[in-house]
Assembly symmetry: C2
């Protein structure tokens, strides 16, 4: 059993011809999660062959445009495709108002149930759970309220008591595959306990060291900082993305990160990662 992560967009700020803002499609135990939804995500989903009807849960990290301006369009397209299944959206307070205002003014209410789960907690919380998968928030340090997300497979054979797991963290390493997705954030070692021993950490790396000062004002991270978080957290593997458009050569991000954390991989559009104890990157 593994998690499969498809990168739909891995750039920051503004969409360009071959540089799409953040969106990722995660397949985990027959669940199909969309993580963030920048402008143009629905086109990227088509480009990489994702069947729209599979998506039942969308997680929005924060309300900066490069992470959610494509959401209202995707919701509208689901309507035009005569979707009937429920769509659950997890994101910060205010997201429901933004979407429903637009549906109201265009007189285009969805014929399918559109369910918002608005988030405002500053501590990690469980936001989705069924027999096989759990999703927890990871509050981050950004200019506005922002969450990362932890996606965790449950054991197939036996149901574990969550409190018991908390006591024996090492069980988690052996028995679970999980992805910890830390979207936009400043260097924030406070998250280390929340992402400790993750199978895979997706951490933003907007800048290289040359712009470390800019990271302070914009509350983003350098590739080196992302790698230091991966090292401190003892994760198995690191994927970095959310590159600033000012850098032409993505390999520089990898080189900078690998000085701190060897098992670092670059997020690139259309790339698929099979996440298990040996990450396959193809």
């Amino acid at each position: 059993m593994s998690l499969k992560l498809t990168i739909l967009g891995c750039h920051s700020a503004t969409p360009r011809v071959n540089a799409h803002p953040t969106a990722q499609f995660l397949e985990i135990k027959n669940h199909h999660f969309l993580i963030d939804c920048g402008e143009g995500t629905q086109v990227q989903l088509r480009k990489y062959g994702v069947k729209f009807s599979k998506i039942k849960h969308i997680f929005i990290s924060h309300l900066h445009g490069d992470h959610f301006y494509g959401l209202v369009g995707l919701i509208s397209t689901f309507r035009l495709l005569n979707r009937e299944a429920e769509l659950h959206i997890y994101g910060p307070n205010g997201l429901k108002e933004i979407i429903t205002l637009q549906l109201k003014l265009s007189n285009s209410w969805t014929q399918y149930p559109l369910l918002f789960h608005e988030l405002n907690a500053t501590e990690s919380e469980l936001v989705f759970e069924d027999a096989t998968v759990e999703v927890h928030t990871i509050p981050l340090d950004h200019r506005i309220y922002t969450n990362g997300f932890l996606f965790k497979e449950k054991l197939g054979e036996r149901k574990l008591n969550a409190k018991a797991i908390a006591k024996f963290k090492e069980i988690e390493i052996c028995d679970y595959q999980n992805l910890k997705n830390c979207s936009d954030t400043a260097y924030y070692p406070e998250i280390v306990p929340l992402i400790k021993n993750a199978t895979c950490l997706y951490h933003e790396a907007t800048f290289l060291k040359d712009k470390e000062a800019l990271c302070v004002t914009t509350k983003h991270s350098t590739a080196a900082q992302a790698a230091q978080i991966a090292q401190l957290s003892n994760v198995n593997q690191l994927i970095i993305g959310h590159y600033s458009g000012r850098y032409q050569n993505k390999e520089d991000f990898k080189i900078e990160a690998q000085a701190f954390f060897e098992n670092t991989h670059l997020s690139l559009e259309g790339k698929v990662f099979e996440i298990n104890n040996t990450l396959i990157d193809y």
Copy 2:
């Protein structure tokens, strides 16, 4: 002197890899107008080499997503590019609330003046005027409040009294170049007096005759209906667009239209029209 119209997107409903929703860039006497702004328009602007800073006026026909979901992203990108110049937006009531709510929640107010001119009149009105250009609305018949727009060059040498022109319509034919842009609308002969003798009419043609019944329920037009409006209005030339994704071959739209109006041209992405008494389509 001529008008230059660049087609950025000419499809209806949902964006696809090579089919972008409505957006057009109009150059007229040193003015640079963006007409509609579907999702992905900012990427199309870059693709076709439009300098962002030139755009000072954006006209939104109505609040269906395929005509404005790209607007908030473009406004945000102008902010990231450190724009200082005023940006004027003309569109239906409610557009200001949609945009400002998103800027508020993302804590990303523009540093440049963002000025909304909200429209709700059901009669044609003058919405922009300076020494060389006028823009009037053309109220249309669609499922929600919708305007087309008339873009008119004024005479360079002398200023005519608008009332005098109204009495002698034929002056207009000789002395003006103008584009009448009728975005989404049902077949609506009531607009004929407003678009009479236009140099160029851009009229939507979402369907072919095989879906004429669908035009009634969705309040769109067939290619034949667009051409009949052009014929009734005695315009010089017709451009059609806003094609439904169900049709593979755009030439069928042209064939259907030309049975009623010979001088019909197809809107295609990236195509540039020089609009004068002899339309150049290259």
